[in-house]
C-alpha cells in the first residue's frame, strides 16, 4: 500500500564486535537487518524473522537475544557480538571448535545462532546435564535435527571451559569432557578430528 508520509530515519551507534559502527537507517530497521544489510555481517541468519527459530541469535550487552525482535533504534549505544566476533587472533572460540569436533551441524544455517546461544548457555551455567542443555538451548531450532550432536558440543565446550577456569583439575576434566562427545575415547584414543579436517568443515559449512 503506498504511503505518503516520509520514512523517518534514525542514526544508530553500536559497538559491534569491538568496533564502533554508526549507521543511519529507516527507523523500522531491526538489529538483524542492520547487521546483515548495512554492516555486511551475515553470520546471524534471517530464518523466521519473528523470534521462533533462533537463527539470528546475537549477544546484546553480553546477553543472547533474537536480533530479529530488536529494533536497531532501541539498541543504540549498546554492545553487540555476532558469530564473526567470537574468534580471537584467528583462533576459533572453544564453542566453535566443539561444534566442529562434535559434527554438530548438517546444512549449517542454524549454526551461528546455535553457537552464539551456546556461548551464553555455558556462561549462564545451564550445562549441568544433557537435559538442562537441551532445555536452555531450545530457542535454537535445527531443521536437520542435529540436536544430539549440538548438545554434545555444548557439553564438551562447557567441560573445556570449566577445566580452563580451574587449571588444577584440568588433567582430570579434559578426558571426561571428551568421553561425553565421542565413543572413541572409551578405548583411550583422543578425539579424532585433525586441524586439517577442522578447517575444511569450517569453510565448507559456514557459508
Amino acid at each position: 500500500m503506498p504511503d505518503e508520509s516520509p520514512t523517518p530515519e534514525i542514526t544508530v551507534t553500536l559497538q559491534v564486535n569491538g568496533a564502533q559502527s554508526q549507521v543511519t537507517c529507516d527507523v523500522r530497521t531491526t538489529l538483524l537487518d542492520l547487521l546483515r544489510e548495512r554492516l555486511r555481517l551475515t553470520g546471524a541468519k534471517k530464518g523466521c524473522n519473528r523470534g521462533e527459530c533462533g537463527a539470528c541469535t546475537v549477544h546484546l550487552d553480553g546477553r543472547r537475544v533474537n536480533a530479529c525482535l530488536v529494533l536497531a533504534a532501541s539498541a543504540d549505544g549498546r554492545e553487540v557480538t555476532t558469530v564473526e566476533g567470537l574468534a580471537t587472533d584467528g583462533e576459533l572460540h572453544p564453542v566453535q571448535r566443539a561444534f566442529i569436533e562434535a559434527d554438530a551441524f548438517q546444512c549449517g544455517f542454524c549454526t551461528p545462532g546455535q553457537i552464539m546461544s551456546a556461548v551464553c548457555c555455558i556462561r549462564e551455567g545451564h550445562t549441568g546435564s544433557n537435559e538442562e542443555i537441551r532445555e536452555w538451548m531450545s530457542g535454537n531450532i535445527c531443521r536437520c535435527s542435529a540436536y544430539p550432536q549440538i548438545a554434545a558440543a555444548v557439553e564438551a565446550a562447557a567441560a573445556a571451559t570449566a577445566s580452563d577456569a580451574a587449571p588444577v583439575s584440568a588433567s582430570d576434566e579434559a578426558p571426561a569432557g571428551a568421553s561425553g562427545r565421542t565413543p572413541a575415547s572409551t578405548d583411550g584414543r583422543p578425539p579424532a578430528p585433525t586441524p586439517a579436517t577442522v578447517t575444511a568443515s569450517a569453510t565448507g559449512k559456514r557459508r
Binding site: D3, P8, R50, G51, L69, R134, G139
Partner: protein, 327 residues
C-alpha cells in the same frame, strides 16, 4: 511494517505524556510489538521506547512482606531472582517454561501479560474473519482448523481463543496485582481480572486504556508451597495445551488454603474457585482431593474437537496441586 516515528522516553512522566498522542504505542522488550507491526495487527504511527526508564527495572520488597517487580525486569532476571525462586516458585517455574532463553532476555514481566492470543486466524497475514482483528467480522476459529487448542471456559461464538501467557497464570494463582500509570492517574488491577473475556468485548484483549502503562507487578505474601505444570506437544519452547498453577497452605495436616489457576483454557487465566473451596479441610493425598478438583470443571464446555482438554486440565491441576503440597 508501516512507517512510524520513534522516540525514547527519558522519564516516566515524559513517557506518559508522549502516549497522549493518538495511535502511539509503548515499546519495551519488543518481542510482541514487532511481530504485530509486521503482520499488521497493529499499525502504530508512533513508538515510545520505555526500555531505558531506570526506575522500572528493580525488584523490591513491599511493606507487607511481598515483592514489587518493576515492569521492565526481564523474564530471565525475575525467574532467577533468589527471592522469587524461594517465595514464589510457581512464578519462577512458569516464567522459565515460557518462550526461550533468548526471548526471556528481551521480554519484560510487564509486557508479558499484554501478549495476545496465538490463534492462527488472529495472527494471519491475510484477511480472515476474526473479531479481534476486525470487530464484527466473526470468528473463523469457531469451526476452523486447530480448534483442539482452543478454549473450554468462558468462550462465546465471537471468540474461542486462549490467552497463552504462562507467567500470567502464576500471577492469577497468586492474586498478584498489576500496577499501572496513566497521564490521568494509575490504578491496581487484579491479575485475575486483567484479561477481557469475549462476553464483555470480543475485540478487547485486556482492560488497559490507551496510554495506560504497566509499571510493575505486586506479589502478596510468599507462597513457598506452589508449583506450575505445563503440558505441551514438545518438551520445551512451545505454548501450552493446558497449564496449571497451584499454591497451597497446610495447617495441622489438612489443606487450609488452596489456589488453582489454569492456563490456555480461556481468554484469561482461569481460577478454579469452586475447587479451591472444596479443597479446604481435605488431607493431602486423600481421594477426595480429586473430587474437589473435578468440581471446578462444572462450567467447562468443549468445542467440537477439544473435549480432551477437560480431563487433561483436571489432571494437570491435580499434578500441580501434588507438587505444591510436596514443595
Amino acid at each position: 511494517m508501516r512507517p512510524f516515528t520513534y522516540v525514547r522516553a527519558e522519564t516516566l512522566p515524559g513517557a506518559l505524556d508522549s502516549a497522549r498522542t493518538d495511535n502511539t504505542m509503548f515499546l519495551a522488550g519488543g518481542t510482541e510489538l514487532l511481530n504485530w507491526a509486521r503482520i499488521g495487527i497493529e499499525t502504530p504511527s508512533r513508538l515510545v521506547d520505555i526500555g531505558r526508564l531506570p526506575e522500572l527495572h528493580e525488584i523490591t520488597p513491599t511493606e507487607d512482606g511481598g515483592l514489587r517487580i518493576g515492569a521492565l525486569a526481564r523474564l530471565n532476571d525475575v525467574a532467577q531472582d533468589a527471592r522469587v525462586e524461594t517465595a514464589y516458585p510457581v512464578f519462577s517455574q512458569a516464567i522459565l517454561k515460557a518462550a526461550s532463553a533468548q526471548l526471556r532476555n528481551l521480554a519484560t514481566i510487564g509486557g508479558n501479560p499484554v501478549q495476545r492470543v496465538r490463534c492462527p486466524y488472529f495472527r494471519s497475514n491475510g484477511p480472515v474473519a476474526c473479531n479481534k482483528r476486525v470487530p464484527g467480522s466473526g470468528c473463523a476459529a469457531l469451526h476452523g482448523a486447530n480448534s483442539e487448542r482452543f478454549a473450554i471456559f468462558g468462550w462465546t461464538e465471537d471468540c474461542v481463543a486462549v490467552q497463552p501467557s504462562d507467567p500470567a497464570v502464576a500471577l492469577a494463582c497468586l492474586d498478584a496485582e498489576i500496577i499501572t500509570e496513566h497521564g490521568d492517574g494509575g490504578r491496581r488491577i487484579p491479575a485475575t481480572e486483567f484479561h477481557t473475556l469475549p462476553d464483555v468485548d470480543p475485540a478487547a484483549h485486556n482492560v488497559l486504556r490507551p496510554g495506560e502503562l504497566i509499571t510493575g507487578i505486586e506479589l502478596g505474601a510468599p507462597a513457598p508451597r506452589s508449583a506450575y505444570v505445563k503440558v505441551r506437544e514438545r518438551q520445551s519452547y512451545e505454548y501450552a495445551l493446558v497449564s496449571a498453577a497451584a499454591a497451597v497452605e497446610v495447617t495441622d495436616g489438612v489443606i487450609s488454603r488452596a489456589r488453582v489457576a489454569l492456563g490456555s483454557v480461556a481468554l484469561r487465566p482461569w481460577r478454579l474457585y469452586d475447587a479451591e473451596a472444596a479443597l479446604v479441610g481435605l488431607t493431602p493425598g486423600s481421594p477426595e482431593v480429586r473430587d474437589a478438583v473435578t468440581s471446578g470443571f462444572s462450567a467447562a464446555r468443549p468445542l467440537s474437537s477439544n473435549a480432551y482438554k477437560i480431563p487433561l486440565a483436571r489432571n494437570t491441576a491435580l499434578r500441580a496441586l501434588e507438587l505444591a503440597l510436596e514443595a
